[in-house]
């Protein structure tokens, strides 16, 4: 597989270029607008002289292009991504690390929910092809997919927290607590339809394979045929494809869900950092997301090739 390895290396070599371009853009956009982290955290104190002194201490009075150069140099020489203007006594990885961990576990819950619902529903819909149940089931979950989380979250809060008090209306009481139910539903349900449709398609394919006919011919009952022979062959491609594709949706969803529910994950912290104009933290987060997207795209491309040999590897180009 020399061609494939070369392809992966070429794609990965392109990554630093993407990160550099994104960092340049983010650096300029965040520092261009009005205000700065100093004046924001100063709140009711507005002493232009003191602001100027503090800006000078942090080098924020230099031209943006010079600041960008210093930022790059510090990364290259010291691996230092700069200070956070909010929690000056911690490094940026120390600040965002625990928040990413919260989001990763929340994302894992959402994935589990998506697959636990999506795969059985997809298989069942395939088995019921031609009856009203097939389009009905898929449509129900397409409905959830169509509603933005901005709407899902408040509706779930009203239903589960305000009306029946099953779960707290927000907040975060640890990853193993009732407060994770609403975010898990909000992040997990929209993906169900996609998984179900893929699982339905792969199941339909598998249903007409020779080995299925053989299994039936052996006299196995239909349940065993589906679970043992069809499902096993239908599920694997779904898993790999969807994990890559839903990463994008999860990051977007987490930003809104975490902010609305007050979950101290990376989504909520991104929102806070943008509000506080915590330049260096915003940069690191944007670069991490970029990194994740590039890798996810690469993964999806590779999986698609593995599943369908007809898909061609794009030569050397962009991600």
């Amino acid at each position: 597989m020399d061609g494939l390895a070369g392809y992966v290396v070429r794609r990965l070599l392109f990554l630093p270029v993407v990160l550099l371009v994104v960092s340049f853009g983010t650096f300029f956009i965040t520092r261009w607008g009005p205000g700065d982290p100093i004046s924001i955290y100063s709140g009711q104190y507005r002493d232009p002289e003191a602001f100027a002194r503090v800006r000078h201490t942090y080098g924020l009075d230099k031209p943006i292009i010079v600041q960008y150069g210093i930022w790059l140099k510090d990364i290259a020489l010291h691996g230092d991504f700069g200070v956070s203007f909010r929690y000056r006594d911690r490094t940026i990885p120390e600040i965002i690390g625990p928040k990413i961990w919260v989001s990763v576990r929340l994302g894992a819950y959402a994935f589990i929910l998506t697959f636990l619902l999506g795969i059985p529903i997809g298989i069942y819909a395939a088995v019921k092809q031609g009856t009203w149940l097939d389009p009905f089931l898929i449509s129900v979950f397409l409905f959830f997919q169509s509603i933005p989380v901005l709407v899902t979250v408040p509706v779930l809060v009203i239903l589960l927290a305000v009306k029946v008090h099953w779960v707290p209306p927000g907040g975060f009481d640890g990853i193993f607590s009732r407060s994770m139910i609403i975010p898990t539903l909000a992040l997990g349900l929209p993906g169900v339809a996609g998984v179900a449709r893929l699982a339905r398609a792969t199941t339909l394919g598998a249903l007409h394979e020779d080995f299925v006919r053989t299994a039936r011919a052996k006299g196995l009952d239909e349940f065993t045929v589906i679970t043992r022979h069809v499902a096993r062959n239908a599920v694997a491609p779904v898993m790999t494809t969807v994990i890559g594709l839903s990463l994008v949706g999860l990051i977007e969803g987490a930003l809104i869900t975490e902010t609305l529910l007050g979950i101290p994950g990376i989504g909520e912290y991104t929102f806070q950092s943008v509000n506080a104009k915590d330049y260096n933290v915003i940069l690191v987060i944007v670069l991490l997301i970029t990194f994740a997207f590039v890798l996810a795209n690469l993964l999806v491309d590779l999986v698609l090739v593995a599943i369908d040999p007809r898909a061609r590897l794009a030569g050397g180009g962009g991600p």
Binding site: S42, T57, R88, Y109, G171, F172, D173, I175
Partner: protein, 550 residues
């Protein structure tokens, strides 16, 4: 296909979903309001859930992360709330906002009112046991003013000390006005006999820090600060929890309350309180009515506290049409603030009676503001130079998302109804908002002011003196300036307060501000907690609390 398959797939899904639910519910441990007796040892690390078993002598509250635990740079109420527990200064405020000895057990003032001699409490010590010396105080102040420390506010609080400006500018590192006489004695020279100087020393920026610790670990010492206050920082997990532990050797006596656990994740504080996850909580306006309902079980647990803070609309006295005092007066008189307070704010937040907020000397409860008088307001507007040619007017406030507070809407409605003037409301993010205020870009703005120390100078002088850096309304009145300068150094406390009350009257008449409301806090305290009182300003207040969980 077969029915078996339906059952089978359903069963698999059900088992898996139940499995997920089990992870969520059961592993979470004891949930909720069962109120198990506090039999567990307090040494065990609490599980990362708010509804764990409460420990005796531990108070649990919901709060926000401190931005800074370095007293020199802290300037926000969230940070100050922790700093006043972990650190201390020469003097402190008691709950009645009177100056009390702290690291200094007594002090003398020279006859000219310009030199303070502080005598340190011989028992005063850092939390690691090292005694606090006069040199530590001098170091702490020089460090706070040093530009490398990057404090935005230190000069506000230490700037009266002779030589402070030179340290702040980076000209020197030595604070010339501060002399170490011996380990226990510190002499401080200020630039004029300002009686409010001691108040400024109660602010975190003037607190004492450990030179040795900072020298050893300049960037990260605040993660385990060696303070002088009644509580030590035991644990701080960003966005999760912060735990303070009693400093048993505190020089003013060991705290009764052994630990304070601050839960830092967001969410509904009131719900957590009702579930038994925290012991005290603030109550927002939206929940106030249900808490005040006499039939509510929460009613007996509810308390009220005045904050030394005011909400106001500031007029830019340089910008048309508010450069004409008649227009400012007309706008102030066209809004029925008392009605808004009682109807829109459900009587929870009182209309301001003047500019000086409650708790601050010079405050009086009688209403001194311009009365609500629509006829007079219309008449004043007719006499103004903008009569019949009123420019487009915009009110700026912080906020986003276009949902404008009910109170603001009611105010704008008052202007439309009584003056026939349409005022647009413009929301801006904090950065843009403050920058545009400073540059005089807004005609008027909605803002609040929280007192940093209980002296009228901290509002009247800081916000209305023509040369003040925080004079947001760009107000310039030579008569007011003269009186402000006189009040700064007036030696007789009664005369001084009377001067400020005069200034307040002049300001209300000339109307660079339309005072709106005095801020008020509502909070709930569990019946098993005693001695908890929310102070009107950020001051140390956990030491004497006792918690006896049922």
């Amino acid at each position: 296909m077969s029915n078996k398959l339906v059952l089978g797939a359903g069963a698999v899904a059900a088992v898996l979903i139940i499995g997920l639910a089990v992870i969520l519910f059961v592993v979470a441990g004891s949930g909720g309001s069962s109120g198990t007796p506090a039999a567990t040892s307090s040494g065990a690390t609490p599980a990362s859930t708010v509804s764990g078993t409460p420990a005796a002598g531990d108070l649990r509250v919901r709060a926000s992360d401190p931005l800074f635990l370095d007293p020199a740079v802290a300037q926000d109420a969230d940070s100050a709330g922790y700093i006043v527990e972990i650190f201390s200064g020469l003097v402190r405020l008691d709950k009645n906002l009177k100056i009390q000895p702290d690291l200094a057990e007594r002090w003398d003032l020279s006859p000219d009112g310009k030199t303070y001699t502080f005598h340190l409490n011989p028992k005063a010590a850092f939390q690691d046991g090292r005694p606090v010396t006069a040199g530590d105080v001098k170091y702490s102040w020089e460090r706070a003013l040093n530009p490398d420390t990057a404090s935005v506010t230190a000069e506000n609080f230490l700037g009266d000390i002779v030589g402070a400006k030179d340290v702040a500018n980076g000209t020197t590192k030595q604070l010339s006005g501060v002399k170490v006489i011996d380990d226990q004695t510190l002499q401080v020279a200020i630039d004029a006999p300002k009686s409010y100087f001691l108040y400024k020393l109660t602010y975190p920026n003037a607190f004492v820090v450990d030179q040795k610790q900072i020298a050893a670990n300049p960037r990260r010492w605040t993660l385990k600060p060696n303070g002088t206050g009644p509580y030590m920082l035991k644990e701080w997990k960003l966005g999760d929890r912060l735990v303070l532990q009693a400093n048993e050797h505190f020089y003013l006596g060991a705290p009764k309350l052994k630990t304070v656990t601050f839960l830092l994740s967001g969410g509904s504080s009131l719900t957590t309180y009702q579930d038994g996850g925290i012991d005290v909580t603030g109550v927002g306006l939206a929940d106030l009515a249900s808490v005040q309902d006499p039939s509510s079980p929460l009613n007996k647990q509810y308390h009220k506290a005045d904050n030394a803070a005011i909400d106001y609309i500031g007029f830019n006295t340089n910008a048309p049409p508010f450069d004409d005092p008649k227009v400012r007066q007309a706008f102030a008189m066209a809004v029925d603030r008392k009605k808004i307070a009682s109807v829109v704010l459900h009587g929870a937040i009182p209309a301001a009676t003047g500019i000086i907020p409650p708790g601050v000397p010079g405050y009086t409860p009688d209403d001194k503001t311009l009365p609500y008088d629509p006829a007079k307001a219309k008449q004043l507007l007719g006499q103004s130079k903008y009569a019949g040619k009123m420019p487009q007017i915009t009110l700026a406030e912080t906020g986003a998302g276009g949902s404008i507070a009910d109170a603001t809407q009611a105010i704008v409605q008052g202007w439309k109804q009584n003056l026939g003037v349409d005022v647009k409301v413009q929301q801006a993010d904090a950065a843009t908002f403050f920058q545009d205020i400073d540059q005089g870009k807004y005609q008027m703005f909605h803002l609040g002011w929280i007192m940093d120390y209980p002296d009228p100078e901290d509002i009247l002088d800081v916000l209305f003196y023509s040369k003040s850096r925080q004079n947001s309304s760009h107000y310039n009145n030579p008569q007011v300036d003269a009186k402000l300068l006189q009040a700064r150094t007036e030696a007789d406390p009664n005369k001084r307060i009377a001067l400020y009350q005069d200034i307040e009257k002049m300001l209300i008449q000339d109307a660079p501000w339309m005072p709106l409301f005095f801020e008020t806090s509502y909070y709930l305290v569990k019946p098993y907690v005693s001695g908890y009182e929310l102070p009107p300003m950020v001051i140390e207040h956990y030491r004497n609390v006792t918690v006896n969980h049922p």
